[in-house]
Symmetry: C2
Amino acid sequence: MNEHGGSALLTDHYELTMVQAALHSGAAARPSVFEMFARRLPEGRRYGVVGGTGRFLDLVERFRFRTEDLDFLSDNGVVDETTLRWLSEYRFSGNVWGYGEGEAYFPGSPILVVEGTFAESVLLETLALSVFNHDSAIASAASRMVVASGGRPLIEMGSRRTHEGAAVAAARAAYMAGFATSSNLEAGRSYGVPTGGTAAHAFTLLHDSERHAFTSQLDSLGRGTTLLVDTYDVERAVRTAVDLAGPELGAVRIDSGDLAATATRVRAQLDSLGASDTRIVVTGDLDELSIQALAVAPVDGYGVGTSLVTGSGAPTVSLVYKLVARARDLAAGTPLEPVAKRSVGKPSRGGRKWAMRRLDDKGIAIAEEVFPHVPEAAVNVRPLLRPLMADGEVIGRESVHEARERHRAVVAELPEQALRMSRGEAALPTVFH
Amino acid sequence: MNEHGGSALLTDHYELTMVQAALHSGAAARPSVFEMFARRLPEGRRYGVVGGTGRFLDLVERFRFRTEDLDFLSDNGVVDETTLRWLSEYRFSGNVWGYGEGEAYFPGSPILVVEGTFAESVLLETLALSVFNHDSAIASAASRMVVASGGRPLIEMGSRRTHEGAAVAAARAAYMAGFATSSNLEAGRSYGVPTGGTAAHAFTLLHDSERHAFTSQLDSLGRGTTLLVDTYDVERAVRTAVDLAGPELGAVRIDSGDLAATATRVRAQLDSLGASDTRIVVTGDLDELSIQALAVAPVDGYGVGTSLVTGSGAPTVSLVYKLVARARDLAAGTPLEPVAKRSVGKPSRGGRKWAMRRLDDKGIAIAEEVFPHVPEAAVNVRPLLRPLMADGEVIGRESVHEARERHRAVVAELPEQALRMSRGEAALPTVFH
């Protein structure tokens, strides 16, 4: 949102000039279908995760051209008077279906289907792509980290490494994909993501000594707090920490050095000091591969920053939003005709689509199936498109907690090879019927 | 900002718990200096570009804990009552200096210096890092693209590939670094970035034929518009375009295929049809290297999306915000003492710093010089820190246009090797005095 709370200018200039030209030609009102999909997964990834559905629905509800927006468009000659009048009354009135947030997706999966007039539907293109490309990139990276962590809790702490608004969305997407907590307070306020954190090196440096700093933190935050032990000398800090807090010390955090070796030494030291319930949290440039490599180390939690908020090498996931069908005229009952461009290397597949996930007898996913019509119900298939908006009203709103539950179930259903950290192909074939 | 316009919760949980514990220990009010710097440039980069200064100043002015923020913090037990009261009155009252927006930076350059009490200054850490890490990543990538383009105009069109709020900041940073225009309308409204755009493939597919689509666009947007010619067959589309618009056709856009070869063919075709003033704009997965490779092709403008908004391989630039000095007590006149952690691999350099750029007799930059005191004025050195805030008031506000002018001058001053596209080391040594 911009500072007056609207979302309509979070949009490419050309969406509005297309509306102008289509109003001029009369085609603006043609019934149309747009679909969002990815032609491929990011290099080496075995599955993608849909993120952003909930945020998109919130933003579509705020997608109105307000006076200050229209004044800007008018003053800068972006569109003509006819179009300004049309925009001033704009309100999406169509239907939207989508994969559930947290669902896995594969190349060609139609993760969003938007049905309305051309003009009202094309206007949502930029916003839809921004939200889903970002949030799905984060959710897809986060999901792999959760798999790699083998059940140990993950803490999202990447706010400082990404745009301040993207940080809130990233915290939400990471939680949805299974992270335990986030450092981002706005994600707590807006979405109910559990937040956490205790202290940084600056807090230790501020005080006259590490002992003074630890004493202050324990007095104020309690013995269950996490003390950061690598500002000066880890061994001395751990000794000081247990000396001051006793065995009830919640956790120590290690943010530098060889994390596996340091964690092993610190575990032995904590145990020898009687603090065997004190946990060890490691942070510092972790990604899914280093998390997996730490599986054998005595680590109780991972803090992940940069790699999470940058999608671990794939900060965007190349989702596109394409016109796949439109009616040739406006008369009631005119059939929608498939349309598709033939650009070199970027072909599209015309026609409205429906999708199911096929499972084997053990409930393991074996294929993504895409149909040009509503498929018949069958055993061992799970429909993937849910109704999200009907006649412009949001009907598919869910909390991030519901999306998180879906994601957990969806990952459990994926074949074993989908969950390998090594680079590979899409774990399921997409079958177009 | 969140939807009520505040920025204070765009912050890590631990900043607030540190404030709580420091209020408890009495150290919260110790005069302190924090500095923001990068230990290194992104792999292979020869210079970095400071981006985000203007946005940071705007956000600091809105950094207030409002009722809904305090309610969230209270309801979730983030901090205690004493801290809530302190936060409710929070307003940064210190001083800030920074490199000018658009300035080049190198490893160790102190691009932001924040002076205030520990508590008031540490609270700005997350927001400062979010803004500068994002905007500097985009500005740094954009600057290289501008160099690679050799004066041909660059169009920023990456909104759809990044978070919707990050998209606005990215458009601003790209314009600051020399891009000609952006597709992002909110960047136009908020920052005066020139916006542009005409039509996508969907517009052609909507109509009954490409000829029908082009006619509609030309009628509505005028002959100076840009027609997208690769929906079906480029040669046929160019013929149709000139047939309809005549030699006054503004431009054609090519978004797929071998851009150099296609542009060469289209140039010859346009010339043969008498449309020698019609420009050719190319788009489609361009980055600084492919832009440079197209230098020999008859291309009049480049549209850049994904690579720009993802920082062309470096979506964040590892800026950190570190406590470098603090007074040991609160008595007036107590000297600030340097502080620095000794974490393995992450050493920091204590003490407040000042920076100058040293130039040779021809005005070419030869070194980044960092001093532990205010350096004496001298010929052939340019001071780099500008006053941005004094006693909590913004005094260094600039428009993005002023930052753009600075960036242009700064790039002109860099040595030739800084502007090579190949991977290399930092183009200037950072000398610590």
